[in-house]
Protein backbone atom coordinates (compact mmCIF):
# COMPACT_ATOMS: atom_id res chain seq x y z
CA UNK A 1 0.00 0.00 0.00
CA UNK A 2 1.02 3.55 -0.44
CA UNK A 3 2.77 5.34 2.36
CA UNK A 4 2.21 8.79 0.93
CA UNK A 5 0.93 10.34 4.14
CA UNK A 6 3.51 8.67 6.34
CA UNK A 7 6.35 9.77 4.08
CA UNK A 8 5.14 13.36 4.07
CA UNK A 9 4.66 13.28 7.82
CA UNK A 10 8.13 11.87 8.48
CA UNK A 11 9.67 14.47 6.14
CA UNK A 12 7.88 17.33 7.87
CA UNK A 13 8.29 16.22 11.53
CA UNK A 14 11.31 13.91 11.69
CA UNK A 15 11.79 14.45 15.42
CA UNK A 16 8.15 14.00 16.43
CA UNK A 17 7.71 10.53 14.98
CA UNK A 18 8.70 7.60 17.19
CA UNK A 19 8.10 5.05 14.45
CA UNK A 20 5.63 4.28 11.68
CA UNK A 21 3.99 1.20 10.24
CA UNK A 22 1.42 0.10 7.73
CA UNK A 23 -0.90 -2.79 8.36
CA UNK A 24 -3.68 -3.98 6.07
CA UNK A 25 -3.63 -0.70 4.21
CA UNK A 26 -3.83 1.41 7.35
CA UNK A 27 -1.08 3.91 8.02
CA UNK A 28 -0.04 4.25 11.63
CA UNK A 29 2.28 6.82 13.18
CA UNK A 30 3.47 6.81 16.78
CA UNK A 31 3.81 10.43 17.85
CA UNK A 32 5.69 11.87 20.79
CA UNK A 33 3.30 13.28 23.35
CA UNK A 34 4.56 16.86 23.30
CA UNK A 35 4.45 17.19 19.53
CA UNK A 36 0.94 15.87 19.04
CA UNK A 37 -0.81 19.22 18.77
CA UNK A 38 1.58 20.61 16.13
CA UNK A 39 1.40 17.42 14.07
CA UNK A 40 -2.39 17.30 14.25
CA UNK A 41 -2.73 20.96 13.32
CA UNK A 42 -0.55 20.43 10.27
CA UNK A 43 -2.48 17.31 9.28
CA UNK A 44 -5.71 19.25 9.39
CA UNK A 45 -4.57 22.45 7.69
CA UNK A 46 -2.10 21.30 5.04
CA UNK A 47 -3.95 21.11 1.69
CA UNK A 48 -2.15 17.91 0.69
CA UNK A 49 -3.20 16.20 3.95
CA UNK A 50 -6.62 17.81 4.67
CA UNK A 51 -7.74 15.38 7.36
CA UNK A 52 -11.24 16.78 7.73
CA UNK A 53 -13.00 13.79 9.31
CA UNK A 54 -12.16 12.69 12.86
CA UNK A 55 -13.22 9.05 13.07
CA UNK A 56 -12.64 8.06 16.69
CA UNK A 57 -10.47 8.49 19.73
CA UNK A 58 -9.88 5.70 22.19
CA UNK A 59 -7.27 4.15 24.43
CA UNK A 60 -5.61 0.76 24.85
CA UNK A 61 -4.56 -0.52 28.26
CA UNK A 62 -1.46 -2.73 27.93
CA UNK A 63 -1.36 -3.82 31.57
CA UNK A 64 0.75 -6.97 32.01
CA UNK A 65 1.07 -7.33 28.26
CA UNK A 66 3.70 -9.78 27.09
CA UNK A 67 4.51 -10.78 23.54
CA UNK A 68 3.10 -14.24 22.82
CA UNK A 69 3.73 -16.46 19.88
CA UNK A 70 0.22 -15.75 18.60
CA UNK A 71 0.30 -11.97 18.87
CA UNK A 72 3.43 -11.45 16.78
CA UNK A 73 3.02 -8.62 14.30
CA UNK A 74 2.97 -9.10 10.55
CA UNK A 75 6.57 -9.04 9.20
CA UNK A 76 6.12 -5.73 7.43
CA UNK A 77 5.82 -3.98 10.82
CA UNK A 78 9.54 -4.47 11.37
CA UNK A 79 10.90 -2.17 14.05
CA UNK A 80 7.46 -0.73 14.77
CA UNK A 81 6.87 -3.58 17.21
CA UNK A 82 8.43 -3.16 20.61
CA UNK A 83 8.63 -5.94 23.13
CA UNK A 84 7.79 -3.82 26.15
CA UNK A 85 5.00 -1.33 26.07
CA UNK A 86 4.08 1.69 28.17
CA UNK A 87 0.79 1.23 30.00
CA UNK A 88 -1.53 3.28 27.79
CA UNK A 89 -1.78 4.03 24.09
CA UNK A 90 -4.18 6.74 22.97
CA UNK A 91 -5.37 6.32 19.38
CA UNK A 92 -6.75 8.94 17.07
CA UNK A 93 -8.11 7.72 13.78
CA UNK A 94 -8.30 10.41 11.11
CA UNK A 95 -9.73 10.38 7.63
CA UNK A 96 -9.61 12.75 4.71
CA UNK A 97 -12.78 12.79 2.68
CA UNK A 98 -11.16 15.04 0.07
CA UNK A 99 -8.12 12.83 -0.59
CA UNK A 100 -9.63 9.50 0.51
CA UNK A 101 -6.76 8.55 2.80
CA UNK A 102 -6.57 7.66 6.46
CA UNK A 103 -4.06 7.82 9.26
CA UNK A 104 -3.93 6.58 12.82
CA UNK A 105 -2.00 8.54 15.41
CA UNK A 106 -0.90 6.58 18.46
CA UNK A 107 0.49 8.25 21.55
CA UNK A 108 2.12 6.10 24.19
CA UNK A 109 1.65 7.26 27.77
CA UNK A 110 3.30 6.00 30.95
CA UNK A 111 1.19 4.65 33.78
CA UNK A 112 2.11 7.26 36.36
CA UNK A 113 1.49 10.26 34.11
CA UNK A 114 -1.36 9.65 31.63
CA UNK A 115 -1.51 13.12 30.12
CA UNK A 116 -2.20 13.80 26.46
CA UNK A 117 -2.85 16.91 24.42
CA UNK A 118 -6.49 17.42 23.55
CA UNK A 119 -7.46 17.61 19.88
CA UNK A 120 -10.96 18.84 20.68
CA UNK A 121 -10.04 22.36 19.67
CA UNK A 122 -8.99 21.17 16.19
CA UNK A 123 -11.83 18.72 15.58
CA UNK A 124 -14.88 19.45 17.81
CA UNK A 125 -16.10 15.87 17.28
CA UNK A 126 -13.26 14.69 19.50
CA UNK A 127 -14.71 16.61 22.44
CA UNK A 128 -17.09 13.88 23.60
CA UNK A 129 -14.78 11.09 22.42
CA UNK A 130 -12.04 12.38 24.66
CA UNK A 131 -14.50 12.72 27.50
CA UNK A 132 -15.40 9.06 27.05
CA UNK A 133 -11.73 8.09 27.00
CA UNK A 134 -11.24 10.06 30.19
CA UNK A 135 -14.34 8.46 31.73
CA UNK A 136 -13.25 4.90 30.98
CA UNK A 137 -9.43 5.08 31.14
CA UNK A 138 -8.61 8.21 33.10
CA UNK A 139 -6.48 9.84 30.42
CA UNK A 140 -6.09 13.53 31.28
CA UNK A 141 -6.52 15.54 28.09
CA UNK A 142 -4.81 18.87 28.55
CA UNK A 143 -6.66 22.01 27.51
CA UNK A 144 -9.84 20.06 26.89
CA UNK A 145 -12.78 22.52 27.04
CA UNK A 146 -14.96 20.37 29.35
CA UNK A 147 -13.22 17.29 30.75
CA UNK A 148 -15.94 15.62 32.84
CA UNK A 149 -17.34 12.10 33.00
CA UNK A 150 -19.76 11.54 30.14
CA UNK A 151 -21.39 8.13 30.75
CA UNK A 152 -20.82 7.45 34.41
CA UNK A 153 -22.01 9.47 37.37
CA UNK A 154 -19.89 11.98 39.21
CA UNK A 155 -19.79 9.79 42.34
CA UNK A 156 -18.00 7.00 40.48
CA UNK A 157 -14.47 6.32 41.70
CA UNK A 158 -11.88 4.85 39.35
CA UNK A 159 -11.85 4.08 35.65
CA UNK A 160 -13.76 0.92 34.76
CA UNK A 161 -12.16 -0.06 31.46
CA UNK A 162 -8.67 -0.12 32.92
CA UNK A 163 -7.57 -3.71 33.16
CA UNK A 164 -6.92 -3.47 36.90
CA UNK A 165 -10.49 -2.37 37.70
CA UNK A 166 -12.13 -5.34 39.51
CA UNK A 167 -14.70 -7.01 37.30
CA UNK A 168 -17.19 -7.56 40.12
CA UNK A 169 -16.86 -4.14 41.72
CA UNK A 170 -20.06 -2.11 41.82
CA UNK A 171 -20.62 1.42 42.98
CA UNK A 172 -24.34 1.68 43.72
CA UNK A 173 -26.05 5.03 44.03
CA UNK A 174 -29.19 3.73 45.78
CA UNK A 175 -30.26 0.47 47.43
CA UNK A 176 -33.32 -0.79 49.29
CA UNK A 177 -33.16 -0.47 53.05
CA UNK A 178 -34.60 -3.95 53.66
CA UNK A 179 -31.95 -5.87 51.74
CA UNK A 180 -30.00 -8.38 53.83
CA UNK A 181 -26.75 -6.78 52.72
CA UNK A 182 -26.96 -3.15 51.78
CA UNK A 183 -23.68 -2.33 50.05
CA UNK A 184 -24.10 1.41 50.54
CA UNK A 185 -24.51 1.09 54.30
CA UNK A 186 -21.82 -1.59 54.56
CA UNK A 187 -19.39 0.77 52.89
CA UNK A 188 -19.96 3.53 55.42
CA UNK A 189 -19.55 1.30 58.46
Amino acid sequence: MSKKVLDALTAKFPSAIVRTATANGDEIAWIKRDDLLAVAKWLRDDPAMAFDAPVFCTCIDWLDWKPQHNNRPPPEWGSAWNETKPRFTVCYQLRSVAHKHRLRLEIELPENDPRCASLAELWPAFNWQERETFDMYGIKFENHPDLRRIYLYEEFVGYPLRKDYPKEKRQPLVRRDDLPINPIKAEHK
Partner: protein
Protein backbone atom coordinates in the same frame (compact mmCIF):
# COMPACT_ATOMS: atom_id res chain seq x y z
CA UNK B 1 -52.28 -22.12 36.01
CA UNK B 2 -54.88 -19.90 37.55
CA UNK B 3 -57.07 -19.59 34.50
CA UNK B 4 -60.23 -19.88 36.56
CA UNK B 5 -59.21 -17.12 38.93
CA UNK B 6 -58.38 -14.83 36.08
CA UNK B 7 -61.73 -14.90 34.35
CA UNK B 8 -63.92 -11.89 34.90
CA UNK B 9 -66.69 -13.78 36.64
CA UNK B 10 -69.17 -11.40 38.11
CA UNK B 11 -70.61 -14.31 40.14
CA UNK B 12 -67.44 -14.39 42.18
CA UNK B 13 -67.93 -10.85 43.34
CA UNK B 14 -71.60 -11.50 44.04
CA UNK B 15 -70.69 -14.61 46.02
CA UNK B 16 -68.13 -12.78 48.12
CA UNK B 17 -70.62 -10.00 48.79
CA UNK B 18 -73.10 -12.61 50.03
CA UNK B 19 -70.45 -14.31 52.18
CA UNK B 20 -69.36 -11.03 53.68
CA UNK B 21 -65.83 -11.23 52.21
CA UNK B 22 -66.03 -7.62 51.16
CA UNK B 23 -62.27 -7.14 51.30
CA UNK B 24 -61.90 -9.35 48.26
CA UNK B 25 -64.07 -7.16 46.04
CA UNK B 26 -61.72 -4.19 45.54
CA UNK B 27 -58.85 -6.57 44.81
CA UNK B 28 -61.08 -8.34 42.30
CA UNK B 29 -61.60 -5.03 40.55
CA UNK B 30 -57.97 -4.02 40.75
CA UNK B 31 -56.60 -7.15 39.17
CA UNK B 32 -58.65 -6.64 36.03
CA UNK B 33 -57.81 -2.97 35.58
CA UNK B 34 -54.05 -2.72 35.94
CA UNK B 35 -52.66 0.50 34.55
CA UNK B 36 -49.21 -0.29 33.24
CA UNK B 37 -46.20 1.99 33.40
CA UNK B 38 -43.67 0.50 30.95
CA UNK B 39 -40.18 1.41 32.19
CA UNK B 40 -38.59 0.35 28.91
CA UNK B 41 -34.81 0.65 28.88
CA UNK B 42 -33.57 -1.97 26.43
CA UNK B 43 -34.28 -4.57 23.77
CA UNK B 44 -36.97 -6.37 25.82
CA UNK B 45 -39.12 -3.44 24.76
CA UNK B 46 -39.66 -5.11 21.40
CA UNK B 47 -41.14 -8.10 23.18
CA UNK B 48 -43.26 -5.84 25.31
CA UNK B 49 -44.68 -4.31 22.13
CA UNK B 50 -45.42 -7.79 20.90
CA UNK B 51 -47.32 -8.63 24.09
CA UNK B 52 -49.19 -5.35 24.03
CA UNK B 53 -50.00 -5.70 20.33
CA UNK B 54 -53.07 -7.43 18.94
CA UNK B 55 -51.56 -10.89 18.45
CA UNK B 56 -50.91 -11.69 22.10
CA UNK B 57 -53.07 -8.87 23.38
CA UNK B 58 -52.40 -7.91 26.96
CA UNK B 59 -55.80 -6.20 26.80
CA UNK B 60 -57.55 -9.54 27.29
CA UNK B 61 -56.42 -9.39 30.91
CA UNK B 62 -57.32 -5.78 31.45
CA UNK B 63 -53.74 -4.46 31.53
CA UNK B 64 -53.74 -2.88 28.11
CA UNK B 65 -53.61 0.76 29.03
CA UNK B 66 -50.02 2.05 29.29
CA UNK B 67 -49.87 5.29 31.23
CA UNK B 68 -46.73 7.28 30.68
CA UNK B 69 -47.02 8.96 34.03
CA UNK B 70 -46.22 6.89 37.12
CA UNK B 71 -48.84 8.81 39.10
CA UNK B 72 -51.61 7.34 36.96
CA UNK B 73 -50.42 3.75 37.06
CA UNK B 74 -50.25 0.86 39.50
CA UNK B 75 -48.25 -1.77 37.60
CA UNK B 76 -44.59 -1.01 36.93
CA UNK B 77 -43.10 -3.15 34.19
CA UNK B 78 -39.30 -2.94 34.24
CA UNK B 79 -38.46 -3.90 30.69
CA UNK B 80 -34.72 -4.14 30.17
CA UNK B 81 -31.37 -3.59 31.85
CA UNK B 82 -31.20 -1.26 34.83
CA UNK B 83 -27.86 0.47 35.29
CA UNK B 84 -26.57 1.83 38.56
CA UNK B 85 -26.95 5.32 37.17
CA UNK B 86 -30.66 4.67 36.57
CA UNK B 87 -31.26 3.44 40.12
CA UNK B 88 -32.36 6.77 41.61
CA UNK B 89 -34.71 7.40 38.67
CA UNK B 90 -36.29 3.97 39.03
CA UNK B 91 -36.79 4.45 42.76
CA UNK B 92 -38.36 7.83 42.16
CA UNK B 93 -40.77 6.43 39.58
CA UNK B 94 -41.78 3.69 42.01
CA UNK B 95 -42.27 6.14 44.87
CA UNK B 96 -44.56 8.29 42.74
CA UNK B 97 -46.90 5.46 41.73
CA UNK B 98 -50.39 5.16 43.18
CA UNK B 99 -50.91 2.72 46.08
CA UNK B 100 -51.32 -0.21 45.98
CA UNK B 101 -48.74 -0.90 43.30
CA UNK B 102 -47.09 -3.91 41.77
CA UNK B 103 -43.85 -4.53 39.90
CA UNK B 104 -42.99 -7.04 37.20
CA UNK B 105 -39.33 -7.55 36.27
CA UNK B 106 -39.46 -8.30 32.56
CA UNK B 107 -36.53 -10.42 31.35
CA UNK B 108 -33.33 -11.62 33.04
CA UNK B 109 -31.62 -8.22 33.00
CA UNK B 110 -34.32 -6.64 35.12
CA UNK B 111 -34.53 -9.76 37.30
CA UNK B 112 -30.87 -10.53 38.03
CA UNK B 113 -28.69 -8.38 35.78
CA UNK B 114 -28.61 -11.15 33.17
CA UNK B 115 -25.34 -11.56 31.37
CA UNK B 116 -24.07 -8.22 32.58
CA UNK B 117 -21.67 -8.66 35.44
CA UNK B 118 -19.67 -5.48 35.44
CA UNK B 119 -19.29 -1.97 36.71
CA UNK B 120 -22.45 -0.43 35.29
CA UNK B 121 -25.30 -2.96 35.45
CA UNK B 122 -27.42 -3.37 38.55
CA UNK B 123 -27.76 -7.02 39.61
CA UNK B 124 -31.55 -7.00 39.38
CA UNK B 125 -34.07 -4.19 39.83
CA UNK B 126 -35.01 -5.68 43.22
CA UNK B 127 -31.88 -4.08 44.62
CA UNK B 128 -33.79 -0.82 44.59
CA UNK B 129 -37.52 -1.59 44.65
CA UNK B 130 -39.51 -4.69 45.67
CA UNK B 131 -40.44 -6.88 42.70
CA UNK B 132 -43.55 -9.09 42.73
CA UNK B 133 -43.08 -11.30 39.68
CA UNK B 134 -39.86 -12.12 37.79
CA UNK B 135 -40.01 -13.19 34.17
CA UNK B 136 -36.93 -15.10 32.96
CA UNK B 137 -35.87 -15.11 29.33
CA UNK B 138 -33.71 -13.02 27.06
CA UNK B 139 -36.15 -11.79 25.96
CA UNK B 140 -39.12 -13.70 27.41
CA UNK B 141 -41.74 -15.16 25.11
CA UNK B 142 -45.06 -13.31 25.15
CA UNK B 143 -46.68 -16.41 26.64
CA UNK B 144 -44.35 -16.11 29.63
CA UNK B 145 -45.42 -12.52 30.11
CA UNK B 146 -49.09 -13.46 30.02
CA UNK B 147 -48.38 -16.27 32.49
CA UNK B 148 -46.62 -13.81 34.78
CA UNK B 149 -49.52 -11.39 34.53
CA UNK B 150 -51.97 -14.13 35.51
CA UNK B 151 -49.68 -15.04 38.39
CA UNK B 152 -49.65 -11.45 39.49
CA UNK B 153 -53.46 -11.27 39.25
CA UNK B 154 -53.76 -14.28 41.56
CA UNK B 155 -51.39 -12.59 43.94
CA UNK B 156 -53.35 -9.34 43.86
CA UNK B 157 -56.57 -11.23 44.57
CA UNK B 158 -55.00 -12.88 47.61
CA UNK B 159 -53.50 -9.62 48.82
CA UNK B 160 -49.95 -10.99 48.61
CA UNK B 161 -48.36 -8.20 46.62
CA UNK B 162 -45.42 -6.40 48.24
CA UNK B 163 -47.23 -3.09 48.56
CA UNK B 164 -50.44 -4.76 49.79
CA UNK B 165 -48.53 -6.58 52.52
CA UNK B 166 -46.75 -3.37 53.44
CA UNK B 167 -50.05 -1.47 53.70
CA UNK B 168 -51.44 -4.25 55.92
CA UNK B 169 -48.37 -4.09 58.14
CA UNK B 170 -48.68 -0.33 58.41
CA UNK B 171 -52.36 -0.68 59.39
CA UNK B 172 -51.50 -3.20 62.08
CA UNK B 173 -48.76 -0.98 63.46
CA UNK B 174 -51.02 2.08 63.40
CA UNK B 175 -53.87 0.28 65.20
CA UNK B 176 -51.43 -1.08 67.76
CA UNK B 177 -50.07 2.32 68.73
CA UNK B 178 -53.54 3.87 69.06
CA UNK B 179 -54.60 1.43 71.77
Amino acid sequence: MGVELSTTRLEDAAKWAKQGKLARIPEWGRKFSLFTYPFVTACCGMEFMSVAGPKYDLARFGAEFPRFSPRQSDLLMIVGTITEKQGPALKRVYDQMAEPKWVIAFGVCASTGGFYQNYHAMPGADQVIPVDVYIPGCPPRPEQVLDALIMLMDRIQDGRGHSQLRLKREQVIASGTEE
